[in-house]
């Protein structure tokens, strides 16, 4: 019983240390565990991959630094995919703490592929009023975002001579850490008849499966796993040709694997010890009675 009591009363600092080591070790020494793309993520990748060069893609990146490890790798991979295919991404965010992350991502990818703001892509930045922004963009993007993130007027940009509203986009991609997916779906993609894909945090992925099964969205990438799968698809198809390195999500999945494995094992061990202790206490009570 000594060991059982020791396990059940294990100091939380021991657990914290094991979690810290489980996260850090695979990042220092990658385990190279297999990342197998699912049909849900392929649904987004294949739709974007099938778009003809020059198509406009609207990307709403509605997340903040708290969800950076899960969603930023997806945004970077999608931007790289768009630039590889010569598509024109229009990036915006409905979260006030988001623009800084998006700016870093789009400037990095645009520089890598030699793309120019206002011509090959546009970073619209942030606007207040979730539903009002979506409805406004359905009527006119240059009227809703009078200037881009850098303060340049959008109306005069070459990219907005081709498209001016959501219905002229070939694909709408929502990368969300909160409840903005339904807004884009109900007021952006569905009424304007634009196919839509969703990337979201792992905790919220479960609620979008009904939309996926009803084919209201073409694909769903949940959490860091979804981002890693997208990176893998991009790497397999264009990695060598465009010298694309493995992304952060693929490396992060090794760390996530180890932590999940530790939590599952700790739950199993704690439950076995719990049953042994309960049984022992029951026996003791019977003996004393």
């Amino acid at each position: 019983m000594g060991f059982v009591r020791f396990i059940l009363n294990l100091d939380r600092r021991v657990i914290y240390t094991i979690v810290a080591v489980s996260v850090a070790w695979p990042l220092i020494q990658p385990l190279k565990l297999p990342v197998v793309p699912t049909t849900e993520v392929k649904g987004i990748f294949d739709t974007i991959d099938a778009l003809p060069a020059g198509s406009n893609v609207l990307i709403a990146a509605d997340f903040d630094p708290a969800s950076k490890p899960e969603l930023l790798p997806f945004l970077e991979a999608v931007l790289a995919h768009c630039f590889v295919k010569n598509l024109k991404p229009h990036l915006l965010t409905l979260w006030p703490t988001g623009p800084g992350l998006m700016q870093t991502a789009i400037e990095k990818e645009a520089k890598k592929f030699g793309k120019h703001s206002g011509v090959d892509y546009c970073f619209l930045g942030f606007r207040y009023g979730t539903l009002a922004v979506v409805l406004g963009m359905a009527s006119s993007i240059p009227d809703t975002f009078v200037t881009d993130f850098y303060g340049k007027p959008t109306a005069g940009m070459p990219i907005y001579q081709e498209v001016t509203k959501i219905s002229q986009m070939k694909y709408l991609l929502e990368i969300a850490a909160g409840a903005t997916v339904e807004t884009w779906l109900a007021y952006g993609a569905q009424p304007e008849k634009v196919p839509m894909g969703v990337s979201c945090t792992a905790v919220s992925a479960t609620q979008y499966y009904p939309y996926l099964q009803a084919k209201q969205i073409t694909g769903l990438a949940g959490g860091m796993k979804g981002s890693a799968e997208y990176e893998k698809l991009l790497l397999d198809k264009y990695g060598q040709q465009y010298n694309i390195p493995p992304g952060d999500a693929i490396r992060g999945m090794d760390a996530q694997s180890m932590v999940h494995l530790f939590i599952v094992l700790s739950i199993i061990i704690a439950n076995i010890c719990f049953f042994i202790q309960t049984r022992y206490e029951r026996k003791q009570r019977r003996a004393s009675a």
């Binding site: 297999p34 990342v35 630094p65 708290a66 950076k68 623009p99 009002a132 999945m253 999940h260």
Partner: protein, 234 residues
């Protein structure tokens, strides 16, 4: 004045509600123009709400500092951070060590965002992993049938949704049944089934219930039955 307090908000809510509802079923240019007017108003109101939120935050922390309430030292940090971040974003300051100004990548504002705000918010969220691991170890017990079902599902999902689950499946025993090849410990397939069948069924039910309650609340507001938004209870 009582009219503007009681009847006027109900008239506005009814008119706007009916117009925006009807517009959805009349897809013409005129109806879209009406919608654009309303959404412009909406964005203006949001702008004022944001300004009000900033003023409210400043007032709260200023009062806390002035009255020296417990923890007022943190209010100094909040106010100081607000002023520095706002000035770095708004003013075209050419600061030593920074080649950019305002929101440019090489400016102080973006430096503070990338190297202070991002790590601090990411750290706050990352700490959750430690608490969840500790809580799962201490409190996740198979005390009842429901708790056991939850525990088994959680373990299957945790292994099935990470590459180690794929690795276990690939290295487990493979066998043939009904002309198909199966893996003995196929955690990813189990996790996928859980997400696509029981989860999707439950989510669909929740979603329908939620949307129907949205409709009910909207009807109550439009027809003036629900008046709590006017303040002071119903």
């Amino acid at each position: 004045m009582l009219f503007f307090k009681r009847q006027w908000p109900i008239i506005v809510a009814f008119s706007v509600g009916i117009v925006m509802w009807a517009r959805y079923y009349i897809p013409t240019e005129q109806s879209r123009t009406i919608q654009d007017v309303f959404t412009n108003w909406d964005r203006i109101i949001f702008g004022f709400a944001a300004a009000l939120a900033v003023l409210s935050m400043l007032h709260h922390h200023y009062t806390k500092v002035r009255r020296k309430r417990p923890g007022y030292a943190f209010s100094y940090i909040t106010l100081g951070s607000f002023v520095v971040m706002a000035l770095a974003g708004f003013l075209p300051l050419h600061l030593p060590g920074f080649t950019g100004i305002q929101r440019e990548s090489e400016g102080l504002h973006m430096w503070m965002f990338n190297w202070m705000f991002v790590p601090m918010q990411a750290t706050m969220f990352s700490v959750l992993a430690f608490f969840i691991a500790s809580a799962a170890f201490r409190a996740f017990r198979a005390r009842s049938t429901e708790a056991t079902a939850l525990l088994v599902t959680a373990c299957l999902m945790m292994i099935g949704r990470v590459p180690v689950g794929e690795w276990i499946a690939n290295n487990s025993h493979h066998f043939q049944r009904f002309g198909n090849e199966y893996k003995a410990l196929d955690f990813p397939a189990l996790a996928s089934w859980l997400l696509n069948v029981p989860n999707a069924a439950a989510q669909r039910g929740i979603l329908l219930g939620l949307i129907l309650s949205y409709v009910a609340i909207a009807i109550r507001i439009i027809f003036g039955i629900e008046r709590t938004y006017m303040g002071g209870g119903d």
